[in-house]
Symmetry: C2
Subunit: 309 residues, 2 copies
């Protein structure tokens, strides 16, 4: 069953791989080669879908200095349309809605084929920014213009640890049309289980069916990646920092930890009756970290296919 049909039916059990489009500064002539190399790297994975992130300058989110300078990336919708036409599975296109003109966003929404495109809409990074299109407005545009286009929202377990209301935010997004959620990178398995658990029981109390929760995993194999993850708000545990500092094969440790966390979440969601998906990305652009994330996706896909939901 393809990704859109699955999510449309409220079913999980799928695996995605997420990539960030190349920088805007990349010479146009190199883009086909980059896209081809990405597609080749992922071809053997038996993925249910690809995720394309939409990177916004999130420096308004965090007062501390960004670990490396913000560099604008290509519009994921344009990159997909121009360079990933051959990709076989549906693609989940992120839209940082505050970046776009109203007309452009509504045109894009209208043109999408809901069988091959899904979208995750993300609001502006902080309430200080005044985006041209607000998240609620973008959600309403989808509802009006292309109601079959499957909409996802972001879910942040760390925010649930601090404020204990992320499950209510998910339900509000669900009422605004979200049919799936994608977490930020998960390192704290209990924080993720707490969020899923609170979400599931709140759904039950309101007579709602839980929609698929997609857990995101990435390896962390360098101090740069660690700093960036922390800047993004991920609670990367200290033991990973220690492994990195002491070079005790941190990539292997990180890969094993991510796989173990994913399998624990799979088992937990199955028992709880919450549909789930997996999303693997490489936060880093270093070759060996990308390879380790691809290996993680291969392991998790094999695990999921062995024991289908």
């Amino acid at each position: 069953m393809d990704l859109a049909t699955r999510i449309g039916a409220g079913q999980g059990g799928f695996v995605l791989f997420a990539i960030t489009p190349p920088r805007e500064s990349t010479p146009a002539a190199r883009l086909p080669e980059i896209a081809r190399s990405t597609a080749e790297r992922l071809a053997h994975l038996d993925l249910d879908g690809l995720v394309l992130y939409d990177i916004d300058d999130e420096s308004s989110r965090n007062p501390t200095a960004r670990p490396f300078p913000f560099s604008p990336t290509l519009d994921p919708a344009v990159y997909r349309a121009e360079h990933l036409r051959e990709w076989q599975t549906p693609v989940v296109i992120y839209r940082a809605v505050g970046k776009y003109r109203r007309d452009d966003l509504s045109a894009w929404i209208s043109e999408q084929d809901p069988r091959s495109t899904l979208t995750v809409m993300v609001g502006a990074a902080s309430s200080g920014a005044t985006p041209s299109v607000a998240l609620a407005e973008a959600q309403a545009m989808r509802e009006d213009l292309n109601p079959d286009l499957l909409l996802g929202g972001v879910a942040i377990p760390e925010r649930h640890s601090r404020r204990e209301n992320e499950h209510l935010r998910l339900i509000a997004k669900q009422e605004a049309g979200c049919r799936f959620f994608v977490t930020q990178v998960v390192y704290d398995v209990n924080a993720a289980k707490n969020l899923v658990s609170d979400y599931r029981y709140e759904c039950e109390a309101r007579g709602l069916s839980p929609v698929p929760v997609v857990f995101t995993f990435s390896v962390c194999g360098s101090m740069k990646t660690l700093e960036f993850l922390r800047w993004l708000g991920v609670d990367v545990p200290r033991w990973i920092e220690n492994d990195l500092r002491h070079a005790t094969n941190p990539l292997a440790a990180s890969l094993e930890q991510a796989a173990s966390t994913a399998i624990e979440l799979i088992d937990y969601c199955r028992r709880l009756g919450v549909p789930f998906g997996l999303n693997i990305e490489s936060v880093s652009i270093r070759r060996e970290e990308i390879d380790a994330s691809v290996e993680l996706a291969a392991q998790l896909t094999a695990h999921l296919r062995r024991q289908p939901s």
Copy 2:
């Protein structure tokens, strides 16, 4: 290799089961039957050792009301000597040193055969108490009177999360003669890994060999058990509380979580080169929770024997 030889050689890979002696108020005539039933329940487990806790009234540790009233339990050394003589493996006897008269404690230390007895000495629960024997004094008595008697200390990952110096406390205990550590019940796998990681790298910096760290696990199958664990300072995650409230087979979820946490810690310690042991207990006296803890011990023993260190 027996438990004392292993720990004496700085090696891990062993499994213990911990029990609390019966209450002092138990009719003496019932004690042999209780001891026999405990031994029968554990006989099939292929354990490396038994742990006998020494329960002190820890109400000075925590200003909030104890979930159920403190009830003094039999002296674990007496209970072992009088009722567990037939037990085949070495026994780790806890000593809440503040409970005992100096003469009685020194006599007990002198009399123990280090091949069959190990001890974990625990200081008074809070600095407000004025125990008759301080922990440092008890540690020195062992050094003088029976230096071959293997001494352990307690390790608390949650304290490391809050204060970030538990690894230094472990090293101070090691310098005072500790040859192994036993954690309180582990629910937060990252807190435990953070402690082991900081401990291992601090050992390396000081040219010390890490001693075995024994991770303790228990199922949590009732709200009473949950409250008691939290009162003891264990961060039991909210999803377990939700499962308990909604009766989604919480015992099965808790057993699976504990097994998964243990296996992740086993893999991590092996990679890191820190010797480890496992200790399984039932925090609850309810039959089904005890049975689930025995099942947990069976699963973990099988896992460890399949892939020996």
